[in-house]
Every structure is written in C-alpha cells, then in structure tokens.
Amino acid sequence: MAAQERSDQAVVSRRGFVGWTLGLGAGVVALVAGVPQIGALLATPRSAAPNEFVDVGKLADLPDGEPVGLTFLAESIDGYNAEQLPHTVWVVKTGTGDPIVFSPVCTHLGCQVFWDKGARHFVCPCHNSVFTKDGAVVSGPAPRPLDTLPTKIKDGILSVRWVDFTPGTTAKTPV
C-alpha cells in the first residue's frame, strides 16, 4: 500500500521533472545560441578616436563680427570605413578676442544650421530653431545654445578639433 502511494507520487513528479528538464534544456540551448547574436547586435560599435586639431584658416582673413563658414577635412570613422570627410564650422571673430567656433549641428535634432545674412541669425531649416550670432537660442525648440568646438591659435592660424555632441539634451555632452 505504501509502495503504491509512493509510485503514484513518483508518476506525478516524474512528469514534472521531464517538463522542467525540457524547459530548462530548451532555455539553455536558446541562451547558448542566442546570446552571441544579441551581444553582437547590442554591442556599442567601435568608437572613433578623438580627432586631431585641423588648421581651418588664417585669423587675419576672418571678417570682424560676421560669421563665416569654413570647411575642412577631418577623419571620420564609420564602422569599417575611415574617410577624410569635409566638415563645416561657423567662425565668429569679434574685435581682437579669440574667435568662437560653432559646430553647425543643430542642438535640437542634428540638422545643419546656416547663417541668415538678412535676419542676422543662425537658422536651422528642419524645425526652425533660431540662434543669435553668439549661439544663444532666440526661438524654436533647440534645448541649448549652439555647441562651441575646441580651438587653438598658432602663428595666426586657427585650428579646430571636430567633436560630435548629443543633440536634443540641455547638457552639452560628446557622443
């Protein structure tokens, strides 16, 4: 009688055991096979090395008080492509002070701003953010002023280091 009871219990638990084994086994198989796939997809891609300072122009050539767009080539690493890509920066020289160099990337969502000579404002064509000559937000959805880029001046030549910043946030953080 006691043996019969034990065997009844054993039947139930054996079934459970088989179910658990299958579930656990399938789970482990899925993990072993799946983790590398998901890991590859979710991994942060190779980050680009910080760019070097690049000469962009002679200080003496810059107009006073008028933003000017300067283009230079900087190395850009895009996955497995490393290319010299043109970048544009907006340089504002006022009086004898060091010029301010703005990234053209709108702080809202990353479109390219341009200098509207008539209105004397920087304007983003995407969502109509407007900035003063000094980069401050006048109107539109931009959450922070235009981003300034690190500069160096040597022998009257202005050098700029290209940095990408995260758009859409109030804090200016490099991506």
């Binding site: 190779r46 390219q112 509207d116 000579k117 064509p125 758009p167 859409g168």
Partner: protein
C-alpha cells in the same frame, strides 16, 4: 479528379485546405467595404514581390546605394515600375491599414470576443510604419538620409537609455554605413517576417470568431467563396490600376544624393510622421521627449487598449457619441498637424540672403581636380533641390532662372554667360556630355576670356571653383547640374530603358484590369441570379 490528382491530393491535401479556407459564411452578405483588409494584404504582397526583385539590384553601402537604386530606376527595363510599385504600395498600405482601422473602430468590430484581432491589427500598423521608416534611408538620398539623421537625434534624446538605443538602432553615433546595413537587415528581413507572422495570427483570430457582420443583426448571409472573393478580386484590380497609374504618371521623386553637410535641404519626414514633425515646432526643448516619444507611445498604448476603453456591447457609432467625439477630435488633430507640416516652407528658399554654406573664397581646402569624371557627374542630382541651391549660389551672377547674366566689365562677352539657353557646345549631344560640360565649370571654376577692345582689362567676375574648394559638396553640385539641365529641357533623371514606356504600360494594364472588373461583376450578377 484524375488519378494523378487523387494521388497528389491524398499526399498533399492542398485542395482540401483551400476549400476549408474559402468555406466561410459572411454575415449580412458580401460587401465591397469588407475588402479593405484584403486590399491591405494585397499591397503587402506587392511590396514583398517588388522588394525581392529590388534585392537583385540594390547595394547597401553609403557609396553605392543611391547609384544602385537609380540604376534600377533609369537603366533596367521595367525598373521604374518595380521601384514605383514598391514606393506607392508602401504609401497605399499605410492608407489602407488606417482606413481598415477606422472602419473596425467606428463599426465597433473590435469588441468582445475580437480583442486579439484588434491588437494584432494595431501591431500590423506599427510594423507597417516601421517598414516605412526603415525603407526611406536605404535609397540614401536627401530625404532618406535626413529622416535617419533626425530619427537618430530623436532616439538619442531619450533620457538615460537614449545614447545606447541610438547606437543599437543606428549602428553608432553617426548615421552612415552601419546605419544602412542595420536598416537593410530590419527592412528586408526582420520587419517583413514579423509582419508576415502577425498577418497569419490576425487571420487565425479573425477566422476563429468570423466576421463581425453588420451593426444591425441581419438574417441575410453570403458565402466567402464566391461572393466575397469576387468582390475582393474587383477591388484588387482597382488597387493595381491605381498603383500602376501612380508609378507611370507620378515617377518617384529624385531628391538628390544624401549630403551630410547640406544646410539648405529641409529634412521633412515621410507623410505618416508629419504630425510629429509639426508637433515638435510647438514644444520647447525640455518637452522634446514628450512629442517624440511620449505622444507616439501613449497613442499606441491607448490604441491597443481600445477594446477595454470602449467595453459596452453597443456597436452603432450613433449610440457611442463620446467615442465618436474622441475619434473626430483625435483624427482631426492628426490631419491638421500633418497638413501644416506638409506646408512647411524652406527658410533658405524663402529668404535667399546668402549662401548657407561656406563662401568659396574663405575655404582653404583646395585639391586639384582628380582624374576622370567627378563624383557629382556620376550621380543623378535632384533638380528641385538644385533650384534652391541655384537661388543661393548662382543667381546673383547668372540671373533668375539663368536667363540673363549680369554685366561683367572686362570680359570678352561683357556679361556673365546665360545658362538658359546654355552654350550649345557645353550642352553636348548626350546627357552624359551635358553633365560633363557643366561639371568642369562647377568643379574647377573658370576665368572668362579678356575683352579685346580694352587692353589689359581683366574680367571683374570670375566663376568660383565650387567643387575643388569644397564650397559646395559633390551631391550639391549634382543637384545644380540636374537643375541647369532641366532649364534647358533635359531631364537628368530620364528613364533610359523603360521596357515599355510608363504611360503606354498604364493603358495596357488598364485594359487588362478592366476586363477583370467587368467579368468579375458579371460573375457576381450571375451568382445573385442563381439564388
């Protein structure tokens, strides 16, 4: 059935399965309005077929994507139709899915016990929108590129996980090669497989409960086969006529090659997302996430919960005034925002006060012209964007629409050459010689010959070098070339090998599909008479 047919059927029961699928009652009788779901399915099938054909031509790299798509459109026989059908079927699939959703919503067809069919339907709409979004950047044209750029900005601005999420979806901090590869994988494999699987589940749950039928119970009943199937066939023919017609008469737009430096192109999203684009303009920077993430997520959740928010068994819209009012307000707001977003003007084009990019004189990068044709001359530019660039960079000297250049004292001609009409020697005989002729000037600039009447004169105005100085990017030069060719009556994006000329093909297909509609209608009438 033949002996072979019997042998086959007994081993692979296709006939029995098909009969099982077709043998269904349609409560209230078959109707044309019931074909909305099937028509949406048809557009998905068209997208699947044209998508697979495009895979035989498309190259998912930043260097080749744009050219490979244009090769299909302009050089491959019927390529214009393959690409056009894919483009317009994508548009129509969203339209039909939305109409289908509105229909089910207003008729209360989502109510118990059909909640799961509704949820799967909403997921299908989301999948369709995801496919729309990931498809655009694959062409690597201005429109697609900037949609991806702004999308990356939106995702990156999500609090806490934004940066990581952007890296995962866009393949890194910049929109480039890894973005194309990721979007390619999502667009051609992951999303279509998900949509296909959910369609299967959607049909299973639909068949489990059957159609909801008319709002007022009716004793009338019809058969799915042949009553509804014949009506579906007629609707399919009409949808195909519309798709071929759109492809033939409204050739897919050429917006120009993707250009990361272009500040004069207004990045505007595809039409299903225009309402968010417009909404963003009203929100201050701190509330950005509310518009980009909050509104879409909340909207989706509410849509998924509709069967639990409107639980009364009442189906008539007239007896659900609150539901009807919410529908009118929400859809009215969405339509209004979309229309406002579509009307957005380009600030640069409205107020042409100066080049948005760097001035040629100020640019210090100067590289000698490379050997062979330039990147610009090998790309099919977008004439519409070229026109905007023309106003900003060329009009000052060459005059409005290039008709008459301004005076240029000291030059042999005395004025800047007109571009419309252009010097026949420059235009050349073929499209390629035309491009090459223009390209030399845009890349290198030129100094006009001196006036012979006044000795030692030097021309006051010179053509600046736009290409070699990087004052304009290669994509911008390609767009300008397309515009100047258009001024001279030459289409840069002309179809070289159409297979059959688009409009001719439309008339042929119209005849074929009209026969389908007529014979289908005759069959419906004969079925009705037979009862």
């Amino acid at each position: 059935m033949s002996r072979f047919g019997d042998w086959f059927e007994s081993r692979l029961p296709i006939g029995r399965t098909l009969r099982g699928m077709l043998d269904e009652e349609v409560p209230g009788g078959a109707k044309f309005v019931y074909a909305l779901g099937s028509a949406t399915l048809l557009t998905f099938l068209v997208l699947a077929v044209t998508g697979v054909v495009q895979l035989f031509f498309y190259a998912p790299t930043t260097a080749a994507a744009y050219a490979s798509v244009n090769y299909l459109r302009f050089q491959v026989p019927f390529g214009w139709l393959v690409h056009g059908l894919h483009y317009w079927a994508a548009t129509l699939m969203v339209v039909l899915a939305l109409l289908h959703l509105v229909q089910v919503f207003l008729w209360g067809a989502f109510k118990k016990p059909r909640e799961m069919t509704w949820i799967l339907g909403v997921l299908l709409l989301l999948g369709t929108l995801a496919a729309t979004y990931t498809g655009n950047p694959l062409a690597w044209d201005e429109k697609g590129y900037w949609a991806a750029r702004v999308g990356a900005g939106i995702i990156g601005s999500v609090p806490l996980v934004g940066g990581w999420l952007r890296d995962v979806v866009f393949g890194g901090t910049i929109v480039g090669q890894l973005t194309i590869t990721r979007f390619f994988g999502l667009h051609i494999a992951v999303i279509p497989l998900l949509i296909g699987s959910i369609i299967a589940l959607h049909l299973i749950t639909f068949r489990k409960e059957g159609a909801a039928g008319p709002i007022r119970p009716s004793t009338k009943t019809g058969a799915f086969y042949p009553d509804q199937v014949l009506r579906d066939l007629i609707v399919f023919a009409v949808v195909l006529v519309v798709l071929v017609g759109l492809s033939a008469f409204l050739l897919t737009p050429v917006t120009g090659p993707a250009d990361a430096l272009d500040a004069s192109y207004v990045g505007r999203p595809d039409w299903p997302f225009l309402f968010i684009f417009q909404l963003l303009k009203y929100l201050p920077g701190q509330l950005e996430v509310v518009g980009t993430i909050g509104v879409p997520v909340l909207g989706t959740l509410l849509l998924l919960l509709v069967p639990w928010l409107d639980r009364s068994p009442e189906r008539s819209p007239a007896k659900r005034p609150a539901v009807l009012a919410i529908f009118v307000v929400v859809s009215g707001a969405l339509v209004a925002l979309s229309i406002l977003g579509a009307q957005t003007s380009t600030p640069a084009a409205v107020a042409p006060v100066g080049p948005p990019g760097p001035t040629p004189e100020a640019s210090i990068v100067s590289t000698p012209p490379g050997p062979g044709p330039s990147l610009a001359s090998n790309q099919v530019g977008g004439a519409a964007h070229g026109q905007e660039l023309y106003v900003l960079y060329c009009q000052e000297c060459h005059g409005a629409r290039g008709v008459k250049g301004v005076e240029n004292p000291g030059s042999a001609d005395g004025e800047v050459p007109s571009l419309n009409p252009i010097d026949p020697a420059l235009a050349g005989k073929t499209r390629q010689t035309f491009v090459a002729g223009l390209d030399t000037f845009l890349q290198n600039g030129s100094v006009p010959s001196e006036s012979t009447s006044t000795p030692n004169a030097s021309p006051r105005l010179k053509m600046p070098s736009f290409g070699n100085t990087n004052a304009l990017t290669q994509p911008q030069i390609a767009d300008l070339e397309a515009y100047i060719m258009q001024l001279n009556g030459v289409d840069r994006a002309a179809i070289a090998r159409p297979g059959v000329v688009p409009k001719t093909y439309f008339w042929i297909s119209l005849v074929g599909l009209a026969i389908v509609v007529i014979s289908g209608s005759a069959a419906i009438v004969s079925v009705e008479r037979g009862r």
